[in-house]
């Protein structure tokens, strides 16, 4: 009978607090991850939205090609019109 009471005391005084302490730690750690994950998700969404203008690079590419072509045309004309530097 005495051993049973000792076992009850150990269960209530030692085992139960230890179980609660450990599980509470696990729950606290899991809850602390949630805000970080939400911030990461928000940042990823905003980063993805910032890249919505990337398709405009294709238009920029076309404009650059066209502009360089015009510059080449003007350069060719200037090469014909202007005299070269003497000795060059």
């Amino acid at each position: 009978m005495t051993l049973e009471w000792i076992g009850d005391v150990i269960l209530l005084v030692v085992v139960l607090p230890v179980v609660i302490y450990l599980l509470h730690g696990v729950l606290t750690a899991a809850n602390s991850i949630v805000p970080s994950v939400n911030r990461i998700a928000g940042a990823a969404q905003r980063g993805s939205a910032d890249l919505d203008a990337v398709p405009l690079l294709l238009h920029t590419q076309e404009q650059v090609i066209a502009t360089v072509g015009v510059v080449a045309d003007y350069g060719g004309s200037l090469d014909v019109i202007l005299d070269d530097q003497q000795g060059a």
């Binding site: 009978m1 990823a44 969404q45 905003r46 690079l57 920029t60 090609i65 350069g75 202007l82 005299d83």
Partner: protein, 203 residues
């Protein structure tokens, strides 16, 4: 049942209840983490997909710009000579001569003439673009379009008839304000020529 057994059952039930509560709470938290990670993964995948063609497009843009720079540098050196080309670049973009021309490494060692101190950009452009420009009229076929030593002579050549002098006896600037000697009377002067010039009244 002895009292010790009842207490043991209560203790075990309490332990199991605590474990169930905390484990269920942990499961809920982990589910929220999973949902957040799914959302984050979706955003990251979007970033990857949208940024995939960037490298190719930017490389193409850079190749075209490189070709343009090569063309303009080559044309400038061909027409103006290396020294004047470096001087012109340094005149338009001070300090750029130190970097030199990209395709001509020896241009870094060229001492840039101070073209911008002799002529303004507009005059320089005219001189470079057309032999008929006033600054080059004196020697349309000559090699030098500027005189770094006697720059004032070159600028004076812009006025073959001589520089126009000051116009004498210009009326002085009117004094304005409530204390001015000549007061403006809207009732008399609106819509009609002024009766007296302020310079004659004020001086």
């Amino acid at each position: 049942m002895p009292a010790a057994g009842v207490v043991m059952i209560i203790a075990v039930v309490a332990i199991v209840a605590a474990a169930v509560f905390y484990l269920v709470s942990t499961i809920v938290a982990l589910r929220r983490i999973t949902a957040g990670l799914d959302e984050a993964i979706g955003g990251v995948v979007g970033i990857i997909e949208k940024s995939a063609p960037v490298e190719e497009v930017v490389n193409t843009i850079n190749e075209n710009l490189d070709a343009g720079v090569d063309l303009l540098e080559g044309l400038l050196v061909k027409k103006a000579g290396l020294s004047d080309a470096v001087g012109l670049i340094d005149g338009l973009y001070p300090g750029a001569a130190a970097q030199g021309l990209r395709n001509i490494p020896e241009s870094k060692d060229v001492k840039a003439p101070r073209i911008s101190e002799v002529y303004t950009r507009g005059t320089l452009t005219l001189a470079r673009l057309g032999r008929e420009a006033p600054i080059a009229a004196a020697s349309p076929n000559g090699p030098a379009l500027r005189d770094p030593v006697y720059g004032s002579k070159a600028s004076a050549a812009l006025y073959p008839e001589g520089r126009p002098g000051r116009v004498p006896n210009l009326p002085r600037s009117p004094v304005i304000g409530v204390d001015s000697p000549v007061q403006y009377d809207p009732d008399e002067e609106v819509g009609v020529p002024r009766k007296r010039m302020p310079a004659r009244q004020g001086s």
